[in-house]
Amino acid sequence: MGNTEGTPAWTNFDDFYRAEYESQIRRAFLILGNGADAADAVSDAFASVLERWDDIFEAGPYLIRCVVNSCRDLSRRRNRPNTEWPLMPVAESASIDAEIEMADLLASLPFRQSAAIVLRYYGGLTESEIAEALGCRPGSVGPTIHRALKKLREVLP
């Protein structure tokens, strides 16, 4: 899933970019629900990382935080253009319906809750890593996820 934790310190930004771009854009897509917005958020995040590349101690966690912040900024902006982004064609199935239903539920959650769910269950981050990415106390991550799961449980048999 393209986790950045546990990776060695990157010395070349281009390598870092190539290694992280796809996983980060998928992560942002889950948070924002829109591929075009996800691409914008990830581009903005990488631009932030590039600006501080020489000063960053751990590029991975910093990138995740930048992505989350960019997603948060984009989610606040109203009236942004709804650009279509292609999804992979798949056959209709019960699993696809559940995915779409879950995505709709995720989109209806407050930003912090949806981001925490994605970071925890897609990114596999720990509570302290999620707290750092969200800029909150580690102790508040658990309740945030708990509240989100109450709503998401509808699509989890």
Partner: protein
């Protein structure tokens, strides 16, 4: 952390991964992005907007806090002259005037002020029927004079070289030209530096600022500045650059500040003015006065039975007690510095929100906020004791 079963957690991971994998990410990836100028200019405009908001709020706070000492009125027994106890009738249509006397002149004494007031009133009377006093003339007492300066050595040392005398007049006709003529004549009096009309006080009844000390204008300035600041913040919220809760929080603080200063500030002035009378009563009583004794004294005074009614109070001047009651207050007084402290908290929160601070700095800011709030909570009972000291002299 959650009450999901292991199977449910696996299902959630599966759904998320499935959804994420459906996104088509074309290769090659786009080139490494660079900051475009638009983003930078957006940040600049954001910084400018926040700076404007802070400047406006700072200006509004300054105007609220820039209250001068209460200006003693030449007369306050207006209702008697008007033949009405209705305050609205008393003040309606009147204009407040502030006359500043010569620096360093004898007007900085009680007798000098009263002499100057006589001179001023002579000029008003010279205008005949076109202008008349709303207030009845009476001399400023030594006690009022001391109350104006609060009697403290620090204030005494800072005593300005001009003495303001305020009074209210009601023009009978053509008010603008009559007031202008009066201002011109008063300015021509020897020893008068300048004369300032107070239209804010003269527009109608002004029970909150009976001394016409300019509170109306300060609160109006604050309202304009705060309104402009909130408008800028509203635009930022609309543009998605600012969370709505920040606007709500700042609005709450701003409105609270306006209300507190519109109501509590005049009360604070009253409280200060009562302090010399309270000290004098304590001196005349000759020993510590308990709350119960004070309540008895107050009740006797209100009934007009003080003279000889209770031998304990025979040495106390009834007029002094009445002054203390009139000037004092039993309204709970909030510490005046709470409002600027709230502004400081708001600004700190704004800094914490907008700047890319590290977690450590955010913790520092939270601690600072906690210290300010704790200091405010601790100061409340201190201020409450001050209030009670004036009210019942229990200290």
């Amino acid at each position: 952390m959650s009450r999901l079963t292991e199977q449910q957690e696996d299902r959630l991971r599966e759904l998320l991964a499935g959804r994420a994998d459906r996104l088509h990410v074309p290769e090659p990836y786009p080139p490494v992005p660079m900051r475009v100028e638009g983003v930078a200019s957006g940040s600049r405009s954001m910084i400018l907007a926040i700076a404007a908001v802070i400047a406006l709020l700072a200006f509004g706070s300054f105007r609220l806090l820039a209250a001068g000492p209460p200006v003693p009125s030449v007369g306050v027994d207006a209702a008697a002259e008007q033949g009405s106890s209705d305050p609205e009738q008393r003040w309606e249509g009147s204009v407040g005037l502030l006359v500043f006397t010569t620096p360093g002149s004898a007007s900085n004494t009680v007798s000098g002020i009263n002499t100057k007031a006589d001179e001023i009133i002579g000029q008003v009377d010279a205008l005949g029927a076109s202008m008349r006093f709303v207030q009845t003339r009476r001399n400023i007492t030594e006690q009022e004079f001391n109350a104006f300066w609060a009697g403290s050595p620090e204030v005494e040392a800072d005593r300005p070289t001009t003495w303001p005398v305020s009074f209210r007049v009601r023009p009978d006709s053509n008010s603008d030209s009559d007031v202008a003529a009066l201002v011109s004549e008063l300015t021509a009096i020897d020893g008068v530096v300048r004369v300032e009309p107070y239209p804010g006080c003269g527009d109608g009844p002004s029970l909150v600022t009976p001394d016409c000390d300019g509170s109306d204008r300060r609160i109006r300035d604050f309202a304009i500045a705060a309104g402009a600041a909130l408008a800028i913040l509203a635009v930022l919220v609309r543009a998605g650059r600012l969370p709505l809760r920040i606007l709500v929080a700042i609005s709450f603080v701003v409105v609270s500040a306006g209300l507190v200063f519109a109501v509590v500030r005049p009360v604070g002035v009253q409280l200060d003015r009562a302090a010399p009378a309270v000290a004098e009563i304590r001196s005349q009583f000759g020993s510590d006065l308990s709350c119960e004794q004070w309540y008895d004294l107050e009740a006797d005074t209100r009934r007009g039975h003080l003279d000889g009614a209770d031998p304990r109070f025979e040495n106390i001047d009834p007029g002094l007690v009445k002054t203390a009651i009139d000037d004092g207050t039993d309204i709970y007084l909030w510490p005046l510095w709470v409002v600027p402290a709230l502004f400081a908290i708001t600004i700190m929160l704004a800094i914490a929100w907008f700047l890319p601070l590290t977690q450590r700095w955010k913790v520092v800011i939270r601690i600072a906020i906690a210290v300010v709030v704790l200091a405010g909570v601790v100061s409340l009972p201190i201020d409450f004791r001050t209030d009670r000291a004036v009210q019942c002299m229990s200290e």
